[in-house]
Amino acid sequence: MKEKQHNLRLFVPIYVIVILIYITAGIIEPQFITWRNNVNLFTRITPLILVGMAQTFVVLTGGIDLSIGAIIGLTNVIAASLPFINTPLNIILWLLIPPLVGFGVGVINGFFISKKGLPPLIVTLATGAIWLGVTLFIMPIPGGTVSLSVALTITGKLFNTIPIPLLIILFFVLTGYFILRNTELGRSLYALGGNEAIAYESGIPCSRIKILVYGISGILSSFAGMFLSGWMFSADPLIGNPYVLNSIAVTVIAGTSLSGGKGGVVGIIGGAYIFYILNNILNLLGISAFYQYIAKGLVLILALIISSPNASIILKNYFKKQSFFDKEEFVK
């Protein structure tokens, strides 16, 4: 009855799970908790966190973005096709062009969804196919390269101690948290996901916000694409494919409701971590790729079941009945 909206409290269970995994893994394999392994881990979960945030922003408004994978592929390829000789101009171009492309592509999604009233699921599925085609046209097979210093910076360490990926993660998650909590945009996202008709009647510029949120999703996805190009030191047009499912899984595991209006970005580091560890365990156990796909699908469905309002109602009712009978027995 007394449900409260404490954004932070909502994310406690996730981090409890993360710590449990960490401790268990540490006991089984002490190598796991070494600093080196963790630095490596930050690098691996950075793109997951970026796409998780992209998807979370969209999902909070009650939408979904299935073109995330294609945008990663496109920007990944663009980042590795730009001139890679180290000049200040080249570095600026490298930093600016992919996010602009990502934003533009996202805005196109947003345009069809808000101005034409088309369902996000179909629009982003369709534009995703288009951008995948464009990507394959630009670069049919893996190749390209990026500036060596950029690549080394992205996966390197600041002052030789603090891993850059950790800084990237903290920067984006904290900024995201701040935007959702302290800006008009953040408020509007929740309002839109809470009930679009009421949001409209409350004077919230719904269509502008929607276009913007798909644009933001595009930018964040393009950062993931750029990061991957820097990390791999080259590009792969199909690199984004798994990230559609992954982004949704991270969003759901991180505690955001797919029906919109509930959740946030604080759980995303934990969500990405759990999802990555799961992959890692499957790899370590030597389970082949197609079983891994099956496992991922099952995990997503499980996460959905746990987070769906139905599940919590069923559980509540179950415990209510239990307590009722208990009390009665007590009386007798």
Binding site: M1, K2, E3, K4, Q5, H6, N182, T183, E184, R187, S188, Y190, A191, G194, N195, A197, I198, A199, Y200, E201, S202, G203, I204, P205, G261, K262, K320, K321, F324, K327
Partner: protein
Amino acid sequence: MNAAILDKKTVLKMEGITKYFPGTLAVDNVNFMCNKGEVHGLVGENGAGKSTLMKILGGIYLPDKGKIIINNREKRFHNYAEARKFGIGIVYQELSLLPDLSVAENIFMGIWAKKGRIIDWNEIIKKSKEVLAEIDIKLDPEEIVGPLPVALKQMVEIAKVLTQNPEIIIFDEPTASLSSQEVSRLFNIIKKLKENNKAIIFISHRLKEVLNIADVITVMKDGKVVITEKKDYFTEDKLILSMVGREFSQIFPNKATSIDNKIAFSFHGFSEKYRSEVKLSVFRGEVLGIGGLRGQGQIELLQSIFGLGKETKVKVMLSDRLYTIKNPFQAIKSGITLIPEDRNTEGVFLILSVLQNIAASTVDERKNFGLIDRRREKEEVTSITNKLSIKIISLNQIANSLSGGNLQKLVLGKWLLTNPLVMVMLEPTKGVDIGTKQQIYKLIRELAEKGVAVIIHTSEMIELIGMCDRVLVMNKGFITADLKGKEITEEKIMKASISYVNILSEDKE
């Protein structure tokens, strides 16, 4: 329990029913009984426990203590399906029909007559006709439900309940969205059910109707039964007194003593449905009521003031300035606000917090370098919750745990923060308890005195008469009466509500 009402055969007895919710005792040791062939009125403020009691009877909640005895046998049920088996039928306030299906399909939803494995449509349509005839409704079972008027939909809902052949039928605020004509039709059905020896429980906020239809009335307050007596014992004043401990005459604040001749707000609109032009103006300091039967274009007209109409460009005059309103965004920026008819689907973000709800329309006004000034926001929202005495545990509480009256206050609070010049209210007190109604009336009067142009559309005659300084009656999209001061009487409003229909039919001849 009063022995005087035990004269007929008792079909339902609820003994010592108690239900706890975290922090509240929703129903406290309640005894309640129903006889065959009797209408039992159940009244009380919102939160008095009548809905919880009926939800226990309908199997939606389990009681923490107490017995439910039906036909002298103790029963226990865990959901509505089980309750139905023991002869309990509920006609809900919010209709549960599927709009795209036919009347017959809705009536027999889930309990299809079958030939082998195939649904026997002829049988279903035949049975539907029987059920509809039983309550004297002439309706084609193959008609689609969606376009039917609310009153007929409710009849379909009643027919649906009747197919289960219940012994006890609960009507949960069935008249909340009906006009007085439709109400009398519903009452005929209830009388007929009564003749067929059903036990009927009738819940309503409209006390006149309860006094009209009920044989026995139970008043609940704070989870307890205050009194159960035969109807003759009660008058409307007595009922209110036992519900809240206040006299009826104290409910409405005094009307405006002097009204300026200055127009605060005027509007020139066009009704698509009735192809009619409507002009209305509100004078400074007055509360304007819009009356008439339901569905005469009032809601469309008032929504268009807020930029929600199909006519996308609406011109309004506000303190000598002309505005063109295309959408709610512009309306709000020009100082126009609208309290929607259905707060659950159009008014309150149920899954968001109290703070997010109240602050929703003014977020952009509390920005500091692009960021929300959270401290100021909290202060302003708190001042609203205090002013409207909204009962909450914290500002972060999710709205869906609040009662109807408090939800309506959230909508009011949201608009108060925008410092509106015009407040259009559609059914501002629908499904709200008397205590909250009183607060809302007081607030409306305060706003009008401050110079806010207040327009109220209500289907409660008593509100038009008690609250408004001027009443416009609408009929088929036209304004058929402009009543002031002492002219505002039930007779005059009713006459204007139906007069134009007569003129039209004369024209045709």
